[in-house]
């Protein structure tokens, strides 16, 4: 069972602001989904290696040579608030 406080904690980790309604809805939905997911405990995984991907590849390398990347103007063209050739963000400090 996921409690309201856990929802708020995970929302904070996720950088999501939630409305009061969403907090309640998510608490119920996540609890219900995790009830199903908890059935994974029935599977014997003793000594089983985890699978993170299925391609039998390791350490795909290429020569480390300089080459052109996106022009600065192009890279900034989609920015909500470009300034002085950079991405501008609000201050990390809330206004006092």
């Amino acid at each position: 069972m996921i409690e309201r406080e856990q929802v708020l904690h995970v929302a904070r980790l996720s950088r999501l602001r939630l409305s009061e309604t969403e907090i309640d809805t998510l608490a119920g939905e996540l609890s219900s989904i995790l009830d199903h997911v908890d059935k994974l405990a029935e599977v014997d995984i003793e000594g089983v290696e985890p699978t993170s991907h299925v391609v039998p590849l390791e350490n795909v390398l290429r020569p480390d040579e300089p080459r052109p990347s996106l022009d600065r103007d192009v890279a900034l063209s989609q920015a909500p608030d470009p300034a002085d050739g950079a991405f501008r963000v609000p201050s990390p400090q809330a206004e006092a």
Partner: protein, 485 residues
């Protein structure tokens, strides 16, 4: 030439019509842009004009002048790319996905960008921020998802063929719901560069087409090693048009343990019909066990959201996309993500973040990764005994809009048969197996038949699918006028 002939032609047939001089590529493009412009299914989020359709497209090539539709998850330079999210509502990418560059290089103009579930998270298209796409067989029903728009345009006579992506069934399930062919290639066949990421260890690009031959030929254009995606390896020797007529000597495994309750009677009936056809063509049908496949949905709904929660952390209002607040930095992140993401995306970010969080990582993420290993082993063992694993593509035919939106887990069950193959990274195709009434009655709707094969055996998979397709003789023409006003 008659427009009805162009409408009915898939990609390869259109290329032949152009090559024979029966029709010019200009005429073909004009015809299809007219169809796309009359979209009555909300299947396109953006449509091209004659100039933008051909921008950057090679004049020569194996499919010169044969247009296609592209799921709005592929970045297209200078053309809006939204992933059906408010977060990317105004995004115009500065670069083009490799898959799109390959079809452009083969001469294919782009008709438009197709609707989808937001960030490819969904099985009905109802999670699009721009409203759901509709099913051309019955506009009160969903086309499936997440590549619902791509399936709808191909089935509904709004494009000859289309690109989609499949993470847990997002090509196969909508193909099944719309009565067309959808192929999820082996993970690593097609570059993911420029394909907006959902779950990187599962996402794979593939074709949605009118027939198996088109699926093979379009896959051949798409597949290949790309230095921009280090997980792309391509399919050795490529893929060619299939020609098999028989299934002699081939063994088809049915995981009976998976085919329990929740499958509609009509779906099961078409599935059994198709097994009979396999036997008629000389194939052998045997029961097999996939002992852990019943846990695939549970494992998937840990792994895919976990990967999604990290992939979607990039949408922070800094470099591109929505910014919804200019208070302090933390509020800017939180409000932007609150306003930019829809309910299902938030649900999965929350679920994934929870599964990766301190104290829960081993219990959820670590365990799910180990169950994934078990599922991979299940298929390895099955393919020691059989050439293919077959199931219905989905437990039901296309359901009504709103029918499954109340409870997320009910919606997730729609991918019961497609998720195991995704976790194993193996290729799987859905081909139309006929029509069936939904449980509870109503007009008949398409049923998909799924065939899965070992990694990188696409040619063998397509040969068997081709032989079956010919004997099934499915007629998709009733939907072809279903896409226009």
């Amino acid at each position: 030439m008659e427009h009805s002939e162009l409408l009915a032609a898939g990609g390869a047939a259109t290329a032949e019509l152009i090559a024979s001089g029966d029709v010019s590529s200009e005429e073909v493009l004009e015809f299809w842009l007219g169809r796309a412009g009359a979209d009555a299914l909300n299947a396109y989020l953006w449509t091209a004009d004659a100039d933008s359709a051909r921008r950057g497209v090679a004049a020569e090539g194996p499919f010169a002048g044969v247009p296609l539709a592209i799921k709005d998850i592929f970045c297209t330079e200078g053309v809006p790319t939204t992933a059906a999210s408010r977060m990317l509502g105004n995004y115009v990418p500065p670069y083009t996905a490799t898959a799109v560059a390959r079809v452009s290089g083969a001469g294919m103009p782009m008709l438009g960008k197709t609707n989808m579930d937001e960030f490819a998270m969904g099985s009905s298209n109802e999670n699009s921020a721009f409203g759901p796409s509709l099913n051309p067989w019955d506009r009160e029903r969903v086309p499936g998802g997440s590549s619902g728009g791509s399936a709808a345009v191909v089935a509904g006579g709004l494009a000859p063929w289309a690109l989609g992506t499949d993470t847990g069934g997002s090509i196969r399930q909508p193909a099944g719901f719309c009565g067309i062919v959808g192929l999820k290639p082996t993970y690593g066949s097609v570059s993911r560069f420029g394909m907006i990421a959902f779950a990187s260890s599962l996402d794979q690009c593939g074709p949605l087409t009118r027939n198996v031959t088109d699926a093979a030929l379009l896959l051949n254009v798409l597949q290949g090693r790309d230095e921009m995606d280090s997980t792309s390896v391509g399919i050795e020797g490529g893929v060619k048009a299939p020609s098999a007529e028989r299934l002699d000597g081939l063994r088809f495994g049915v995981p009976r343990g998976l085919l329990g309750e929740g499958i509609e009677a009509g779906v099961l009936a078409r599935f059994e019909d198709t097994l009979t056809r396999i036997a008629d063509l000389g194939g052998t049908v045997v029961d097999i066990e996939l002992p852990h496949a019943g846990h695939a949905i549970s494992a998937y709904y840990v792994l895919a959201p976990a990967e999604a929660s990290t992939n979607l952390s990039r949408y922070d209002g800094v470099r591109y996309g929505l910014r919804a607040s200019d208070e302090d930095l933390l509020s800017m992140y939180e409000v932007t993500r609150e306003e930019g993401f829809g309910a299902e995306v938030k649900r999965r970010i929350m679920l994934g973040t929870y599964a990766l969080s301190s104290g829960y990582y081993d219990a959820y993420y670590g365990r799910a990764q180990r169950v994934r290993t078990r599922i991979v082993e299940d298929f390895d063992n099955a393919f020691d005994q059989v050439d293919f694993v077959v199931t219905p593509t989905s437990p039901t035919v296309a359901f009504k809009l709103g029918e499954k939106t109340e409870d997320p887990w009910t919606m997730y069950q729609s991918d019961l048969f497609t998720v195991p193959m995704s976790l194993a990274g193996i290729p799987a195709i859905s081909i139309p197996a006929g029509l069936a009434e939904p449980d509870g009655g109503g007009p008949e709707l398409p049923v998909g038949f799924q065939i899965a094969a070992p990694a990188f055996s696409e040619q063998k998979l397509l040969e068997a699918s081709f032989a079956l397709e010919n004997t099934i003789g499915f007629d998709g023409s009733p939907a072809l006028e279903g896409g226009v006003k």
